[in-house]
């Protein structure tokens, strides 16, 4: 007998690519890829993939690197290396300012050029997210998801993330205090994402979804921006999405994160893998199903790269959700992550197919 079935997120999750170890040789083909995108950061691992790809003989027609407005001097240290690796991949290398208002417009113009130049359709693009800030990753994905391209995301995982267990246990209170440097310092600006404004036409109460970081001030600045009274009394209107590290030896970071951000057991919280973007998608989908009818949902993704990727796909599915970014005054380049442990990739393939899968969620079907 025929039944009406509503497609849910778990029904399509199997269609989405998973994260897998990356082998640079698989990126090398007879014809060059159409575009390689990466970011110039102060962490040495911004060079990891460009170097590996160059050594493996990978070629692209064009490459572009994103430039940040913060830590300019620290980032410049890696510029010569990055440019030399990229120039070995392609002679057409150009920078793109990542922190300007019109970034997405310029990225669209650049992708229009790639689309017009591509000899094979859909064009193939590789995006290295190793040192992309979450706000940049969200803005990039917003634009990339508008195009019919084949997308592969690659990522180099740091060998050492700050704080280390030893550093944290030596001076736990240092990480709870706002006035010490830690991974980053201060908050320069809090602003709604230009590209993810959400739909807030009706005056519903706010509901805030936060991925905290190891510095509480950025998350708290977001709460203060949305509604300062939520700092004193969240009243079940703030959900904390706490990152569960994928390596067992890092599991202490979950408790440390709670302590640093003052997240008590009584507060609304969810545990989300730092490494599996599909887990982020599932948790966000659940929260959205519960709250979207009665609240205006705002998110601030300060967690891991993969959590930000999951957030980007979720925002594609639910444009009614607003994203707020909280930018630090500066990152502490001297105390950030070190080295590179493993390299990973998510080969999304055709974004047309990815969009179709995501669009499928919530649709009704008649099945026999």
């Amino acid at each position: 007998m025929a039944k009406i079935i509503r497609r849910l997120l778990p029904d399509i999750l199997g269609d989405l690519s998973s994260i897998a170890p990356q082998d640079a040789r698989t990126l090398v083909s007879d014809s060059p890829e159409d575009l390689f995108l990466c970011a110039l950061g102060f962490e040495p691992r911004c060079l990891t993939h460009p170097r590996r790809l160059k050594n493996a003989g990978y070629k692209a027609r064009r490459a572009a690197y994103f430039k940040y407005a913060t830590n300019l001097d620290n980032n410049m240290v890696n510029l010569p290396g990055l440019e030399s690796y990229l120039r070995a991949i392609t002679p057409n290398v150009e920078p793109l300012d990542a922190d300007t208002t019109d970034f997405t417009s310029r990225l669209r113009a650049f992708l229009d050029l790639i689309m017009s130049e591509a000899s094979e359709k859909p064009p193939r693009i590789t995006l290295d997210v190793s040192v992309t800030a979450n706000r940049l990753l969200l803005r990039c994905m917003k634009v990339l998801l508008e195009y019919d391209i084949r997308l592969r995301i690659i990522y180099s995982e740091a060998a050492l993330y700050r704080p280390t267990k030893k550093e944290y246990e030596h001076e736990p209170e240092k990480w709870e205090r706002d006035d010490l440097l830690g991974l980053e310092r201060g908050v320069s600006e809090v602003m709604p994402s230009i590209d993810h404004p959400g739909y807030a036409l009706d005056p519903l109460p706010d509901f805030l979804v936060l991925f905290p970081s190891f510095k509480p001030e950025r998350s708290k600045a977001v709460i203060s921006f949305v509604d300062p009274s939520l700092l004193a009394n969240s009243g079940g209107k703030v959900a904390w999405l706490l990152g569960v590290p994928h390596l067992k030896e890092d599991s202490w970071r979950l408790d440390a994160m709670k302590k640093i951000n003052g997240i008590s057991e009584a507060m609304l919280q969810y545990e989300v893998s730092t490494f599996d973007y599909k887990d982020t998608l599932q948790v966000l989908e659940r929260i959205h199903a519960e709250k979207s009818e009665s609240h205006t949902i705002t998110m601030s993704p300060l967690g891991s790269k993969m959590q930000a990727l999951g957030t980007a796909l979720f925002c594609y599915m639910h444009p009614d959700v607003r994203v707020i970014f909280s930018m630090p005054k500066e990152y502490n380049a001297a105390q950030y992550s070190e080295g590179c442990k493993d390299v990973w990739e998510i080969d999304f393939g055709s974004l047309d197919d990815l969009r179709r899968s995501l669009d499928d969620v919530g649709t009704l079907r008649i099945e026999e």
């Binding site: 706002d178 809090v190 602003m191 959400g198 807030a200 036409l201 600045a221 203060s224 009274s229 607003r322």
Partner: protein, 508 residues
């Protein structure tokens, strides 16, 4: 408050109740949709480039609210008799809006109200406008700066109710941190249009709104604009009549909510009056003996004084008292004074701590309040008492007074100090009172009053009978080194006991 003034919030009520309103309010908030959609337009050049689209989007947002309200009115049985809003009027309004959008030929759907379809057409146009702006494109056709005036004129002419009640567009949080000043200047061309059929009411942080339009024209403050400073109105509670009104407001607010939620208790039975020896909180705090239970902050008189015009603070205090006092629907007994004290102080501390997280200048503002609050508390506790007739009373001075001998004080501040000073006022951490006349000559005095909700965190009293009176340079010192500046005041403040070599302010 603005949301409550909107007509939509009251459309479940009877004709008699609705007829008692003086205005017909339509509400939008800048902290939600407008901020999200227009907040990125941060330069004059961008604002000028999208001037027509900004006006168009604003028009559409308010038109949507009007149509949604009309849609609810249309579902009432008395739509024609009481409101004068029949099908003919509905058709006129819909046609006007669709004509303005250039979508008159939009196909109609059977079974869906005409007004709902118009609301959807407006939303479609809003999203399309925003999308075009993000792509850096201008629209070929936009509604004009006169659109809302024409809409309100039409409503006042065609719909009986709007002919009797002044249409009032309520724009909440029209502040610079929600809407950039350059966007505000463009919207001012719409807001300041003078029409007999409507007015605008704007709420804004202090100094948060721009008072010129794109041509540099200003409003006539006495004739075209009335400014109401809620913080200042509440702080001016020095006369007993005002204190009584604030108490009545606090009681009514709670009683209304308790009644609506079906509670048996009332403000008087659950919280009760404040009971202090000599009827003075300041004296109760100053005479507090070590080891005695802390219960000075309690009662409705105290709670009413904690509020500086911010209703959410009152509600937060009530909520915390009820949580800690385990008040239920059936409760009728009074929450103990100690629990009330504990709840009020905890709210005060939390709001004080929250200052740190404001952007910009959060940590700097926190330092100023921490130092000044400590000074106020120490003056209360250790300062010499003031003569009041035949008796004496402890000094309570949560206010700073500075003589403006050489013009406006802000001109003497550096750029960084000006920003900090502006944020302290904008965030209502200090309430700027009307300038007073100095005792030191015919010069005006700048007066800043610490927002009262922060005072319990320092065990400081809520009233004011004295002030920290210093020259302008002291403000610069306070903004640069708050502890040093407050310690300087403390050192020369007359004390109860002689302390020629006493501890510094922060050692006490």
């Amino acid at each position: 408050m603005f949301r409550w003034l909107s007509l939509k919030a009251h459309l479940h009520k009877s004709e008699v109740e609705i007829d008692s309103f003086r205005i017909a309010g339509f509400y939008i908030s800048c902290s939600s949709d407008l901020q999200n959609r227009l907040g990125w337009i941060r330069t004059e050049a961008l604002a000028k480039r999208f001037r027509r689209e900004i006006v168009h989007y604003f028009n559409l947002l308010l038109a949507r609210e009007v149509v949604q309200t009309l849609s609810i009115i249309a579902a009432r049985a008395d739509r024609e008799i009481f409101w004068g809003f029949g099908l003919a009027q509905e058709e006129d309004v819909c046609r006007f809006i669709l004509d303005s959008l250039g979508t008159t030929s939009r196909p109609r759907i059977q079974g869906v109200s005409r007004l709902v379809q118009v609301a959807e057409a407006i939303e479609g146009e809003m999203f399309s406008t925003h999308g075009q702006m993000l792509r850096g494109l201008n629209l070929t056709s936009c509604t004009s700066e006169a659109f809302l005036g024409d809409l309100s004129s039409l409503l006042a002419r065609q719909v009986l109710y709007f002919g009797k009640k002044r249409i009032t567009f309520l724009v909440d949080d029209f502040s610079s941190h929600r809407l950039p000043l350059d966007v505000q200047a463009i919207l001012n061309n719409v807001i300041w249009e003078r029409r007999p059929s409507h007015i605008f009411k704007l709420s804004s942080e202090k100094y948060g709104s721009k008072l010129t339009d794109t041509l540099g024209a200003t409003v006539d403050v006495s004739r075209e604009m009335v400014e109401i400073d809620c913080g200042r109105e509440f702080i001016a509670l020095d006369d007993s009549d005002q204190v009584e009104r604030a108490r009545a407001f606090a009681v009514e607010l709670l009683d209304n909510r308790l009644k609506a939620a079906g509670y048996r208790g009332t403000a008087d039975t659950l919280i009760g009056p404040s009971r202090w020896p000599h009827s003075s909180l300041g004296r109760a705090l100053a005479e507090k003996q070590d080891g005695r239970a802390l219960d000075q902050f309690h009662g409705l008189d105290c709670i009413a004084q904690v509020c500086s015009g911010d209703v959410s603070t009152l509600l937060l205090v009530y909520r915390r008292i009820f949580e800690r006092g385990a008040v239920t629907k059936e409760s009728t007994s009074c929450v103990s004074m100690a629990i009330q004290h504990d709840a009020i102080v905890s709210v005060s501390r939390e709001l004080f701590e929250a200052i740190k997280h404001h952007v910009p200048c959060g940590p700097e503002m926190y330092s100023v309040v921490a130092a000044f609050g400590t000074l106020v508390r120490n003056i209360l506790q250790h300062g010499r008492w003031l003569k009041k007739g035949n008796t004496t009373t402890p000094s309570q001075c949560p206010r700073i007074e500075l003589d403006q001998k050489d013009g406006a004080i802000v001109e003497a501040l550096t750029e960084g100090q000006q920003q900090l000073a502006r944020e302290l006022i904008r965030r209502a951490i200090f309430i700027e009172m009307e300038p007073g006349l100095s005792r030191h000559g015919n010069v005006t005095t700048l007066r800043w009053h610490l927002r009262r909700v922060y005072l319990p965190a320092f065990s400081a009293a809520l009233s004011k009978n004295d002030a920290v009176k210093r020259p302008v340079d002291w403000l610069k010192y306070l903004l640069t080194d708050p502890r040093g500046a407050c310690d300087m005041v403390w050192k020369c403040w007359p004390k109860k006991a002689s302390e020629s070599e006493g501890p510094t302010l922060f050692d006490l």
